[in-house]
Assembly symmetry: C2
Homo-oligomer: 207 residues x 2
DNA sequence: AGAATATATTAACAGTTGTTCATATATAAT
DNA sequence: ATTATATATGAACAACTGTTAATATATTCT
């Protein structure tokens, strides 16, 4: 039996629930997204939810589990190839392009909203944020900057500090975009700032 | 009649309510901080709250109004004195010291938590964040960078971009500290990063 | 002193919450 | 076709929500 999750029609009830929950959690937060709201968004009664999930928290965990396995973390090669060593700025540009893509992707935006809404109230999300979002990025980037420093391509400094300085404006930008989009405000000004950041940063570290 | 708000004893009931509410809102968020929890934290019944505030939202607005009139925004002279022109790095250091102070201040931390918890769900807070937190800082800083550029003290670039690059790591750092402190984790590593940011940034822009 | 005002309490309200149960209706397996 | 399984429904539950009303107790004013 075809259990597709793609187009529209042949979605299993369980998938419909997670989709509707993702939307409602990202708009209302955990507490305000009641099981009745979720159920009616799916088109069933609230008691029917319990045939697919143990309870409300189970639904949330199912949605939240998607937050940290972004496409972002997988295809990032943690080591520099010699080709990338020859053009380090373009490597940073590629990183930022990916980051920008995630920022403007609809699904990733919903997940990011959930993360930000519940970040201060949910320990699991906090740990995921620090480990998967922050530390993983810092580790990858600081490794790259370390190599670049050793080869005399960028100025000598603390690689971890440099990674922090590189990632922080991207995160800040992503949050900014997310906030504007909630109120349907234009983000065209911010869109180009991703690339400008790379330019500025490269000017800051190139030797 | 002495209506002090300082030490401990002679707090008016209204002040007790706002204090308890600030604590509960910052720990639980708006929805989870019920009027009964607030009342019992003060030591009265929930109905007595309505002698001091119109409703729950009124309490929240009273607390939230403190978020954006931080000591931070007032004594910041928006123009550079000639003395500051002679030592521009120390001006940035002063800015960051202030930012760091606010980050580790207990009251400001509670208010920042409330802001971050409700940011994505409360339009007023979103607007306050963008206007009072972001735009005001960008305006002050970009003005300074503009002057420094004109005097050939820092490298030529977009002053607004430069302000963004300067403020983003500070915000990211503040969020990071806030998250760690929720779980009573050590922030000693991060504490020194504020100063390191100034050093790194100054190296990035000095001509 | 007594009158007036401010602030507290108890009780109740209507609505919402997450969850469970018995039961009905589809779908699949034999 | 009959049985078994998965999934839906409607009703109910206890707990909690913000808020109001009637009433009691302090505090302040004259």
């Amino acid at each position: 039996m075809p259990e597709n999750s793609d187009s529209n029609q042949t979605l299993s009830t369980k998938e419909k629930i997670t989709n509707a929950s993702m939307k409602l959690f990202s708009e209302l937060g955990y507490k305000n997204a009641s099981v009745r709201k979720i159920a009616s968004a799916v088109g069933i009664r609230e008691s029917a939810l319990y045939n697919h999930f143990k309870n409300k928290e189970d639904i949330f965990l199912c949605v939240a589990s998607e937050i940290f396995n972004s496409p972002f973390n997988n295809d990032d090669s943690p080591t520099l190839t010699s080709a990338q060593l020859n053009n380090p700025k373009s490597y940073l540009q590629k990183f930022v392009t990916e980051y920008k893509l995630v920022t403007f992707d609809k699904t990733q935006e919903s997940l990011f909203r959930i993360l930000m809404i519940e970040l201060l109230q949910n320990k699991v999300l906090r740990e995921g944020f620090l480990n998967e979002f922050h530390n993983k990025n810092i580790k990858v980037l600081s490794g790259i900057f370390f190599t670049l420093m050793q080869n005399g391509i960028v100025r000598s400094s603390d690689p971890i500090l440099m990674a922090h300085e590189f990632i922080a404006p991207l995160f800040y930008l992503r949050l900014h975009v997310t906030l504007l989009r909630i109120d349907n405000l234009s983000t065209s000004n911010l869109s180009s700032q991703f690339e400008k950041h790379v330019d500025f940063f490269w000017e800051s570290i190139k030797v």
